[in-house]
Symmetry: none
Subunit: 226 residues, 4 copies
Amino acid sequence: MAKTHKPSTPIEPASSGEGRGAPPAASYRAERAAERRAAIVDAAMDEFIARGFTATRLDDIAKRAGVAKGTIYLHFKDKESMFEELIRTAIVPLVGRLTGPPPPGRSVRDAIEGFALTFIAEVANTRRADIVRLIISEGPRFPAIADFYYREVISRGLNGMRALIELAIARGEIRQPELARYPQILVAPAIVAVIWKSLFERHSPLDAIAMFRVHLDLIFGERSKS
Amino acid sequence: MAKTHKPSTPIEPASSGEGRGAPPAASYRAERAAERRAAIVDAAMDEFIARGFTATRLDDIAKRAGVAKGTIYLHFKDKESMFEELIRTAIVPLVGRLTGPPPPGRSVRDAIEGFALTFIAEVANTRRADIVRLIISEGPRFPAIADFYYREVISRGLNGMRALIELAIARGEIRQPELARYPQILVAPAIVAVIWKSLFERHSPLDAIAMFRVHLDLIFGERSKS
Amino acid sequence: MAKTHKPSTPIEPASSGEGRGAPPAASYRAERAAERRAAIVDAAMDEFIARGFTATRLDDIAKRAGVAKGTIYLHFKDKESMFEELIRTAIVPLVGRLTGPPPPGRSVRDAIEGFALTFIAEVANTRRADIVRLIISEGPRFPAIADFYYREVISRGLNGMRALIELAIARGEIRQPELARYPQILVAPAIVAVIWKSLFERHSPLDAIAMFRVHLDLIFGERSKS
Amino acid sequence: MAKTHKPSTPIEPASSGEGRGAPPAASYRAERAAERRAAIVDAAMDEFIARGFTATRLDDIAKRAGVAKGTIYLHFKDKESMFEELIRTAIVPLVGRLTGPPPPGRSVRDAIEGFALTFIAEVANTRRADIVRLIISEGPRFPAIADFYYREVISRGLNGMRALIELAIARGEIRQPELARYPQILVAPAIVAVIWKSLFERHSPLDAIAMFRVHLDLIFGERSKS
DNA sequence: TATGAATGAGTGTTCATTCAT
DNA sequence: TATGAATGAACACTCATTCAT
């Protein structure tokens, strides 16, 4: 009954007409609404992750969020659009952090390793891993989600990776020019780690970071020191 | 909507059995029962793949299989055991082919490449890719499936891979001894290819075989010719 | 699985055209049919008693009788007529014994006591008690059964009782002439005993015979000795 | 078909309850809920009486009660607990009236006759007779019902009767001390009357009250006048 | 005659969605 | 805005009955 985890995503209220700078006194209602919405989003995420789209009951979401069932319909048109909106808002915040900053003065390997560590720490080892699994699960039934995800995350991410790889090739860090054609190879172990966590962690724990380092050694050549 | 693929698994009738004094030659009844069962299995696989476990309706399976709803219950106890049995019988036949034969005189790379080509041809580019996705999707809700799959497929497969890697290290084909600790790296691109096919093939087709060859180049060093 | 109780009623084969004196050699089939029918009747009785008409499954009857489900339909038109026929054949044999013989030289009390002891021994303390309960249960839904039972058992039985009561009044054994108008009073404790056995025997066992003797004492006056 | 009787039991809403700050006066919602629940209880009683537990369809109950099928599940967990709860609430109110008040200054016979008249008027000649028949019918399949009924009704009722009988013996109204051991005899004709009404009233009407008076004459001796 | 696989209408139960309060 | 009782379509599963063997 008790909710112990924090909302996975910062949510902005979408219902009221008041902007950010509305008088704080009058916006009490809007704040409450935003809180409720956040609670619903958070509860829904948990339930969808645990049961998948179809098997999730709005009743359970409402109970977990501490609101009445009807309240959900004040924030979302129906179960399906709630799900789609959830997936969107859950993933977008990640993209900026992962593809955003280009490499400073460090080696490309360090940059990629930094991204990978961030990804593994913030995705593979958190509830977000299950969101990725959820996208894999429900994607085919929600073309809109697959489309959105491909457009906003996959293609951007791969382009970012490709740019890094090309830079590394130019710098001589990577000697496999073909790799630029398949940036998926670069992230494949991270994807596998995410799936592994969801399915087999209890059968045999996996040290995603160590695995990824070995993978980088394959690509960049073994590290001299460290 | 059209069913064009062949039944994914050869199924033997499990329930009927011929009457006491029946001629040992396959009786007409037993044959018919086996046919019906195969039709149900095939139809169920299609539906489960298309909709996931919960959203699949037995009515649709029956309609697609061309039998009455009640007939399903002559072959399976309930929806859940049907699903579990399907997953099992769909995957097991693969394992033998993929882990079975140890490398003859060829190089380890050739052996692995052979396996990978088989895997990609028979899984990534067929309906079985969706079965893998189904396992990823429903695994967490069907611990029995995750258990079975880990025991029968994953651990065996990884052990096979590890043995090959160690052989390659001994022979000097691979220079990264750490790779033996993470055989997952070896197969990661194949997994990613499977997922890609299910979700993004229509956004951007992926040449799984070419990708895997680049991956092998990373591991074994670039091929001189070919 | 094993059937240990004996068939509750002697059943005559009703299907073949052969009379009783048919050549014993040629009647093997008829005998087998009669056996099967008896097994079905017996199994059906058990199941109907245990579950009532609607909740009884023909599958269970067939299994218990050791025949195939279809075989039942060779002997009975459908579930409903099977039930009605069962009730009829189960009750009729009793009527003769209970109302049949008029009192010889003994006192009326002894005659009634003899009947009552027979009834209690052969009904209240056997499976037949449950048949009575079954009639009470299903009677309203099977008017044909209530009609039949009233005609063949109740009215005859009450008339027999009434005759006995009037005889006892004429002889001075009973001093309550009104009793002849309500022969039900005479048998009421036996009915109550039957119901009690079915419902409350495990809560508090009831000595039906002793109770009935006390009841007879009320009617005939206390017995001088015993 | 027409529903003319009043709901058999005053029911209080068990599930809804008024919101936190709701006025303590019975809210409109709570009233409506109680009404609906009463309608369901009433309709269910009718259907169960007419068809027995298994043959009764929730669809019919809902239709008769004028509610949707799902509404039933707002008040009862499932068909079985609905049935058990119905039986309980249908019987309990009777017990108080029947066993409650000990005899004032009147003769024991008058007290018992008073009880019997009440019982016959309120049970044998009303729908409650069918409830008794229902208990007889379904008791063996619902041990919880038989247990409850034995505990709350039978054992209390018999104890009450026994106390009355012993009082009558002490006062010299009854000369059969053995009767105290079988209070069932006292009520047997009432039970028989109840069953008779359900099964054979249309074949031959029974004047339960007159019959019971004759029975009392047997026990207490014939009444001087009347 | 006997079988039991196959059928499909029927039933209990669930749950997304609505709407009076 | 928030509620949660009410709805009713939908679905898993059952079982009396049929019929090809």
